[in-house]
Subunit: 94 residues, 14 copies
């Protein structure tokens, strides 16, 4: 297995696992937040403005964690510096 | 095992595992959100408009995490840059 | 083991694991949703219309996650681009 | 180990594991749903019609997830396109 | 290790694991259902007819999941199409 | 390692693991059922006839799952079709 | 490693693991049953006859699951048909 | 590694693991039983005779499961039929 | 596999896993914090200023942990001292 | 690696793991028992005689499980029949 | 694989895993602390000064644990004594 | 790797793991006991003599389990009969 | 791979894992302590002096456990006696 | 890999893992003890002398378990009898 193939495989597998693992906890965290928001709305409908605003800020913070993983996953597929290096050398070497 | 085969296998396995693992937590998170929405509706039927709206926003946020995984999975099967590179070279090399 | 066999095995194993793993969490999430719906119905029978409607929307959202996995599983068995590529070349190469 | 044997083994092992793993969560989800239905019936016997109907819809949704796994398992044993391809070639090749 | 032996071993191991793993969750689900039925009977003895009927329907649904695993296990031992194929060829080949 | 030995080992290991794993969940499920039955009896001694009857039906259902595993385990040790095939051929081949 | 040794090792390891794993859940289940029986006796001393009888029936059912594992374990050590077959052939072959 | 050594190692490792694993659950089960007995005694000191008797019967049942593992462990060390067979043959063979 | 490739693969895999694993706990921690903030707001709407301020400080602390992981991940992809060393030597060595 | 060394290593590793694993559950079970005893003493100081006596009997039963593991561990280090057999033969064989 | 490469890979992988694993528990601990602080603020708004001060001291203690991991991770990447030793010798040796 | 080294490595690794694993559960059990003792003292300060005495007896019993592991660990490092045997023979053999 | 490299790699990996694993539980323990301190302060603001003092003693005890791990980690990187031995010999041997 | 290196590596890895694993449970146990002490102090400030004294005795007992692990870890690094033996022989043998 030559260098190009080995790096391509590592990038594919890592890109998939990063976003796959990295979405686990944000989904659970957001589910917990949304669930508590609904309980709070049912308990205190008058505070719905404050609750909704706090919920959206919280969801944005948690979503940002999944975005980090998605960004790393995209970098590994479409802007991978190691891949660029080896295909540049593979082309040169031929 | 030549380069084409190795990258194809890595793409197949990663595509399946990414969507398989990546759906675990969103499903649990959505299940928790829907369950709490139903409890809240039973407890405070008058706030059903606010509860339903907040639930749908929350479900959309959580679903987006599974969509990230589905997108990466689809990219690996149908728009895989590494695969395109090796089959271009495999064809050239022949 | 030649290319055709290796890709076939990878597709078979991944197709099975994807749907196998991917059904775990949706089943738990739906079970939780249905269970809470029943508790809510017993607690507030008058809101049965709203509860049932919200339950069905929620179940549809969660079922969609399992459908993603089923779709990827079916693509890997019946519409696998990597498999098509290698059998096209295997036939050509003979 | 020739191609035919390798694909046969992969199909056998995957078929068994798919249905084995895929039945875990539906069984737990249905157990939870049935258990809550019984609690709800004991608490509100008058709503038994609504509760029973919602329970059956929910069980059908959850059972459908196990059916997906069973279908994939059966496809891998009795209608496996990869197996058909290799035995067609194995017969031709002889 | 020739083809016949390899497929026989895969069938034996998979048959055992399928039924072994596949009985875990149904047993837990049925245990939960039966336990809740007993609690409900103690709480509301008058609804025993409805509770018993719903319990039996639920147990049948959950048992069906274990039956799927048992069926796949039996197919792999006594009606395995891959095994039939290889012993047919093994006999022919001699 | 010849065919006979390999299949014998696979049968021994699988037979033990099948019954070993397959007894885990039924034991927990039955323990839960019996425990709830005792709680219910203490809470509502008058319903002891109904409770005991429902308990026995439930235990029978759960025990049946362990019986499936025991049956597969016994088949693998004493009525294993793969073992019969190889020893028939081993005897013939000599 | 010859056939006799390989089968002996497989039998030893499997016999130990079967009884080792197979006693885990029955012990937990019996512990739960006994614990609930004691709680019930403290709560309702007048029903001690019914509680004790139901407890013993339940313990017998759970103990039977461990007995299955013990039986398989003993069969593998003292009445193993595969072992008998290979030592019969080993003696003949000499 | 000759037969004698291999079987000795398998017996040593299995004997240790069997008693090691097999004591886990009985210890937890007995701990739970004793703990509940103490709670029950504190709650209903008058029923101490019945509680103590039921506790001892229960502990005996759970202890019996650990005894099974200890017996298998002792058989593997001091009365191992496979070990006896190989040392008999090893002595003969010399 | 030469030095350049090996270090590139190690960097790719580690970069992905670091951010993937490192986002798990912060997402859960933030989800818990946001959820409790919503409960507290519903319970004591008058203290919303203090609650929101404390929540934001807490989220910042937890987010900083994920940032550490993201920083290490970015360093491994774009500012990796080991990679710079080997490509400097690889260029020199040619 | 000769027989003597292999059996010595297996004995060392097994002796350590047996007592290491075998102390896990007894420690948890005793901790639970002691903790409940303290709760019961605080709740019903008058029953301290009965509680203390039952606690000591229970601790003795649980400690006995750890003693089994310690005994097996000591047998493997200081009275190992397999070790005695091989060093007897190693000495003879020289 | 020469010494330089092997140590570089070990440093990369360890640096990533150390900060990845080392952030798990601090994030959970801080999440728990922040969550309880919010509950306490809602319950006793008058004690907000003491609560906030204790919270910040606690967060600092927990954050310090993650800092230890981050420090080790940075040392392994930028001030690794083993790496310095081998590249000094690699340069000398040339 | 000669006998002396192999046994030394096995002793080192086992000694560390035995005490490492063997301290897990006693620490949790003692933590639980101490925690309950504190709760009980706060609830019933008058029974502090009985509570403290029972706590110390319980801690001693649990500590004894960790001592068993420590003893085995020390035996393996400083009084290892297998090590003594091999170095005696290694010295003789030279 | 020569001795120097092998020991360097073992030291790097162990140093990272020791501090990584060793910070898990202290962070959880401190999080629990801080959280309970905040609850206690909200419940009994008058005892804030005693609570804060006890909290700080407790945090110091728990932090000391992480310090042990950090010390071992630092010793392995900067004052490793095995590393010193091998580089002394490596220099001598040249 | 010669004897000296192998034993050095085993000592390094074991020393790190022993203290790493061995600090997990004491930290959790101490966290639980401190947390309960704070709850008890808030509930019964008058018993602070008894509570603090019992807490310190308990922490000392639990800390001792971590000390055992630290001692074994230090022995393996700085007073390792196996290491002393091999370097004595390595020096002699030269």
């Amino acid at each position: 297995m030559d260098s190009t193939t080995a790096i391509a495989i590592a990038s594919i597998v890592t890109a998939g696992l990063t976003i796959g693992i990295g979405c686990l906890a944000p989904a659970l965290g957001e589910g917990k937040s949304v669930a508590t928001a609904l309980t709070s709305l049912a308990q205190q409908p008058d505070a719905s403005a404050t609750i909704t605003r706090t919920l959206f800020v919280g969801l944005a913070m948690i979503e940002s964690l999944a975005i980090y993983c998605f960004v790393v996953s995209m970098i590994l597929i479409f802007a991978n510096p190691f891949w660029k290096f080896v295909i540049a050398h593979a082309v040169q070497g031929k």
